[in-house]
Symmetry: C2
Subunit: 593 residues, 2 copies
C-alpha cells in the first residue's frame, strides 16, 4: 500500500524562486504570482492525492479488458476522468480560442508531475490527447481546428498517436499503412498499427487518431509519410460524433506495467481520414511536437522516482531493524528506524538529490518551450531542442534507477505486490523505451542537436554555465561545494564535445559509440547547474532576516551538496568512456557475439 503527498512547496520553489516566472516578461505570466500558482498546485495536488493515487494499484491489478473490439478501463477510471475534465485540467495550457485556459506550459508541466506520480497509467489518456491537440493546433486547417480542438480540449474527445507498425518501430521510413484519396477530398486509410497507447477505451465520446500513412505517390522512406486525422466516429454535420469509422482495436498488449493504460493493436480497413498539413510532410509535423512529447516522458521518469522516493522515505522512517552504529537512537523501541543506517540514508539522499534536480531541469525545459512558443525566441527554441533528448533520456534512465533504489529500501516487502513500490518500477520502465528509445535520444543529441546551427545552442549552454560560475565566483559559500565541481564537470562536457568534433566527421562510429555516455554526461552538468542555482537562491533566502521556512532552504543546500559531491564526479567516467572511442565497441563482428 503506497501513498502520495503532492510536493507543492518544491514545485512552488522552482516556479516562483528558481524560474521566477512572474518576472519573466512573457506576456501574461506577470499575473502568475505565488498566490495564483499555489492555488492551482493545491487543487491539482488534491485531485492527485485523493482521486488518482488510490486508483493506481487498482489499475495495475485489474488492467484493461478487451472484448468484441471494446476496451473497458479499470474501475473508477471513468469517474476520475470526469473529475479531471470538470476541473478543466485537460485544457490548462491550451489556446483560449478553443476553450483552453491559456496558462503557461510550465504550469501544465508542474501539475502534470503530480498527475503522473499519483497514477502514470491513468494520466496517459489525457497526455496523449494533449499531444494530439498540439499537433492539430500547429498543423491542422481552420476547419479541422474548429471541429476537433474544442471537444478535445474539453476532454469529451480524446486523442492518440499512431506511428509504430510491426516491421517499423524506430525506423519510420518502413511504414506501410496506405492512404488512398477519395472523391470527397478525404482518404481511405488501410494498415495495422501497434503499441497505440489509449487507442481504444471507454473514457471519452470519441477517439481522434493521428495516423502516419503513405499516399500512393509517396517517395520511399521518411520523406513519403503523411499525417491524417482518423476519428473513431466521423463528425456529423453538427460537428458531433456520428457514424462509426472503419477502424477497430484488434487486441491489447500484455505488458510489464502501466496496466491501467490500454496499449492497442489498431486495424484500419479503408477508414476515412483527413490529411493534416501538406502531403509527405507528416514526419515533420510529428517532429514539431517532439520537444513537448519527449519532455513529457522525461517528466514521467522523475515523477515516478518522486513517488517511489516518498514511499521509501516513509518506510525507512517507520521500519525498525538493527541499531545505529553510533548508539541506539530509539532506545525504548525494539530497534531503530532503518533511516539511521548510513547506507539507507545514502540511498535516500541519492534519490532525493536526483528527483529535486530533475524537477528543476524539467520545469526549466518547459519554461524554455513557453518562451520559444510565446515569444518566438529562437535562442530558447535552439536550447530546448538541444536539451530535449537529455531530459528524455537521462531523466527516464535515472528515474527508473530511483524507483529500483526506493524498492531496495523496502527489502523483501519491496518485491511483493502488497508493498506497492514494485509497480512504480514496472511502470517507470516504459519511459526509457517509448517516444524514441534512450539510445535514439543519445543519437539525436550527438548526431543532430550538438552540431545544429553550427553548434550555436551547445555553445550557448556552455556559456551559460560559465556565466553562472563567473557571476558567483566571489561567493565563498558556493565555491568549493558547488562552483568548483560544476566547473570540472563542464570541462568534461567541453572535452567530450571536442572529441566528437575531431572524430565525428571522418569516423562517425567514434562519436556514436560514446553517444550514450555523452547524454548522461550532459545530464549531470544540467543537474549540477540546477543545483548550483537552487543553492544560491536558498542561501540568499536564508540570509534575509526571517526566512519563512529556514529548514526547507537548509535541506535544499544539503541535498545539493550531496549531488555535487557524489554524483557530479561521474562526468569524468563518462568522458573517459567517450575518449575510449569505438575501438573496443566495434571490435567484434556481429557474428562473433
Amino acid at each position: 500500500m503506497t501513498t502520495y503527498h503532492p510536493p507543492a512547496r518544491d514545485l512552488q520553489f522552482v516556479l516562483q524562486e528558481v524560474l521566477d516566472i512572474s518576472a519573466s516578461g512573457i506576456a501574461g505570466f506577470d499575473e502568475l504570482d505565488a498566490e495564483t500558482t499555489s492555488a492551482v498546485l493545491e487543487e491539482a495536488g488534491r485531485l492527485s492525492a485523493e482521486v488518482l493515487a488510490p486508483l493506481n494499484a487498482v489499475g495495475d491489478r485489474q488492467g484493461c479488458r478487451f472484448e468484441d473490439g471494446a476496451v473497458t478501463t479499470p474501475e473508477g477510471f471513468g469517474e476520475a476522468y470526469a473529475r479531471m475534465r470538470e476541473g478543466g485540467w485537460m485544457g490548462l495550457d491550451c489556446d483560449p480560442a478553443y476553450g483552453g485556459q491559456g496558462m503557461p506550459y510550465v504550469l501544465h508541466t508542474a501539475v502534470g508531475e503530480m498527475f503522473v506520480s499519483s497514477n502514470m497509467a491513468f494520466n496517459m489518456y489525457q497526455g496523449l490527447t494533449h499531444g494530439a491537440v498540439s499537433a492539430i493546433h500547429a498543423h491542422g486547417s481552420d476547419a479541422q481546428k474548429a471541429t476537433y480542438l474544442p471537444r478535445m480540449v474539453e476532454g469529451r474527445w480524446s486523442g492518440t498517436m499512431n506511428l509504430t507498425e510491426p516491421q517499423c518501430g524506430t525506423d519510420l521510413g518502413l511504414i506501410r499503412t496506405r492512404a488512398e484519396p477519395a472523391d470527397d477530398g478525404s482518404y481511405r486509410i488501410t494498415g495495422q498499427k501497434i503499441w497505440i497507447s489509449a487507442g481504444e477505451h471507454d473514457l471519452s465520446e470519441n477517439i481522434i487518431h493521428l495516423v502516419l500513412a503513405r499516399l500512393p505517390d509517396a517517395p520511399e522512406g521518411t520523406k513519403g509519410i503523411s499525417l491524417f486525422i482518423v476519428p473513431k466516429f466521423l463528425p456529423g454535420e453538427d460537428g458531433e460524433a456520428g457514424a462509426r469509422n472503419a477502424l477497430a482495436c484488434a487486441g491489447l498488449e500484455h505488458k510489464m506495467g502501466i496496466h491501467g493504460n490500454a496499449t492497442c493493436v489498431m486495424s484500419y480497413d479503408g477508414a476515412t481520414g483527413y490529411l493534416v498539413g501538406e502531403p509527405h510532410s507528416g514526419l515533420k509535423a510529428m517532429f514539431t511536437m517532439m520537444n513537448e512529447a519527449r519532455l513529457g516522458v522525461g517528466l514521467q521518469g522523475y515523477a515516478m522516482g518522486e513517488v517511489a522516493y516518498q514511499n521509501a522515505r516513509a518506510f525507512a522512517q517507520e521500519r525498525l531493524q538493527g541499531r545505529a552504529v553510533t548508539g541506539a537512537e530509539n532506545p525504548d523501541g525494539p530497534a531503530d528506524p532503518i533511516i539511521v543506517h548510513p547506507d539507507v540514508r545514502r540511498n535516500l539522499m541519492d534519490q532525493k538529490a536526483f528527483v529535486e534536480g530533475a524537477r528543476a531541469f524539467t520545469l526549466w525545459g518547459a519554461y524554455l518551450i513557453d518562451k520559444a512558443r510565446r515569444e518566438e525566441d529562437e535562442a530558447a527554441e535552439g536550447l530546448i531542442s538541444l536539451l530535449t533528448p537529455v531530459i528524455k533520456g537521462v531523466l527516464t534512465d535515472r528515474g527508473f534507477e530511483t524507483t529500483v533504489a526506493a524498492q531496495q529500501v523496502y527489502g523483501g516487502t519491496g518485491y511483493t505486490r502488497d508493498g506497492g513500490v514494485e509497480q512504480f518500477v514496472r511502470d517507470a520502465r516504459i519511459a526509457m523505451i517509448y517516444e524514441g528509445t534512450n539510445g535514439i535520444q543519445a543519437l539525436d543529441l550527438v548526431g543532430r542537436k550538438l552540431g545544429a546551427q553550427g553548434g550555436k545552442p551547445a555553445m550557448a549552454f556552455l556559456e551559460m554555465v560559465k556565466g553562472f560560475i563567473k557571476e558567483s565566483e566571489d561567493d565563498a559559500t558556493l565555491k568549493a561545494d558547488f562552483l568548483d565541481p560544476l566547473k570540472a564537470a563542464s570541462k568534461d562536457l567541453q572535452a567530450a564535445a571536442t572529441f566528437f568534433m575531431q572524430h565525428g566527421q571522418k569516423s562517425p562510429n567514434e562519436a556514436l559509440a560514446g553517444s550514450y555516455d555523452f547524454m548522461h554526461l550532459f545530464g549531470h552538468v544540467c543537474l549540477g547547474l540546477m543545483w548550483a542555482r537552487m543553492a544560491r537562491i536558498a542561501r540568499n533566502a536564508l540570509e534575509t532576516d526571517s526566512p519563512d521556512d529556514a529548514g526547507f532552504y537548509r535541506a535544499k543546500i544539503a541535498t545539493g551538496r550531496h549531488y555535487m559531491a557524489r554524483h557530479l564526479p561521474a562526468t569524468a567516467l563518462h568522458r573517459a568512456r567517450i575518449e575510449a572511442g569505438a575501438d573496443t565497441v566495434m571490435a567484434l563482428s556481429p557474428d562473433d557475439f
Copy 2:
C-alpha cells in the same frame, strides 16, 4: 518467446583453462579432465535447454496456486523435477556417504548457472534443498544425517530455510518464534515465518524446514537463537515420511517475479522440531552456510544477465531498423540489423563483458570454497569470506542492470509479456534483496570482512593482484590494455581501504556511508583481475601453433579490452564518493527528509 543456449564452451574455458581444476592438486579433482567436465556440462545443458527453459514462461504466467493449505506448482514442474532427480543433479556435489556424487562444488556451480539461466524460479526448489543439506551435513547429529540426508540428496525430500518473521527481516535478533522442550527430547515450535521460498509445494514427498527459534532460556538478541529441523511429515520408524506435523502454509506472497516458486507464509502451531547442534548457536550454524548461499545468489544475478544477453543478441542480429551510419550492411534488405548501430553494439558489449567476467569470478569463488572445505585451507576460507559479499552484492546489482540493458535492445517488444525478456528483469530483481540485501552485503564487507584476521585476507587479495601484474609486466601485449588499468583500479581499492582504516574507528559513519561504493569498487577490481587472467590465457592459446578455436580466444581478448577500457575506470568515481565521507550523507536529520 525467449530461447536458451547453454554456454558450455565458456564454462569449460573457466573450469579447465582459467581455474585449471584438474591440476589444482585437490584430492579427486585430477580425474576432472576436459572430457569429463565437458560431458557433465553437455548433459546439464541439454536438460536446461530442452526441459527447464520451455517451462520458464509457463511458470511465470501460471504461478503457484494455493488452496486449503496445499500449493500446486505450474504445469510441467513436477515432471521436470523428476527428470532432475533421476539425472542425479541434486546430489552432484554431495557427500557420497549419503548418496551424493562427491563432485566439486565448482562443477555444481557451473551446472547451476545453466539451471538458473533456463528457469530461475524452478531451480530454487532444489537450491533451497541443497542449502538445507549443507546445514544438516555440517551441524546435524549422525542420526539426523542418516535420516534426512539420503532422502534429500536423492531429491525425494526437499528443504527450506525459515528465518524471516513479519517484524524481523535483516535484524534476526528480533525473532519471536518459540521452541518449548518436550519430554521426548524434541521441541514444540510455535510462530509465524514469512517469505519462505519453496515452503510448501507438490514436488517432493516431504519438506524439511530448517527453522530459527528461541528456547525458553534464550538470551535476548542474536545470541539466543537456535536451529531446528521441523519436517512437514515426521519420519516414522522406517525413516520414511509418517504423521503430518503441526505446521501449515497459510498463504502465498504475490510477487514481482519468480512466480513459479512458492513464497510462503508458514505457521508453526506447536510443531515437532529437532534441535540442530547446540542450543543458542543457530545463527552461527546459519552463518557457516552463508558463503555458499550468497555465492548461489550472486550466480543468479549473472545467470539472469546471461540469458537476457543471449536473447538481446539474437534480437539485435535479426531485427531490421535503420542503416549503418557508415553505409548499408544489408543492402538487399529493407534495413540493416540493429546490431550495426554503435550504441546497440556498445550495450551488447557491456552485457557480454560483465557476464563473462562474472562467470569467472563466481567459479573462482566456488573453487575457493572447494579448496577451503576439502583441504581445510584457511587462506582460501579467509579469501572467499572476504569475496562473498562482493560476489553477492555486485553480481546481483549488475546482473539486474544487464537484464534491463538487454530489455532495452528490444525496444517496445522488451516491454511486452510476449517478448519474454521482461520476465528476466522481474525475476532477477529479487536477487538484490534476499539472502541479505545488497546494503547488508556492503556492511558485511566493510564492517566485518575487511578487517577480519587483522586484514589478512584483504591484504592477500591485493598482493594477488600485484603479483599478477608483476609476473606479467614484461608482457607488452597485455600492458596497456590490461595491466595498467588493473593497477590503477587496485590503487583506488587500496586508497579506499586506507580511508576506512583511518576513519572507521573514530567515526564509523564515515566508512559506512561509502560501503556500497566500496563493494562495487572491489567488484570492479575482481572482474578486472578475471579479465586480465582470461586475456593472458587466451593470448597464450592464440600463440600456440594451431589453436582449436582462434575466434573464441580473439573474442575473449576483445571483450576483456572493452571491460578494462569502459568499466574499470569506474573505480575512480567510487573512490571519490568514498572519500567524500559521511558529510553530505548524514547532513539531514531523519525528519528533514
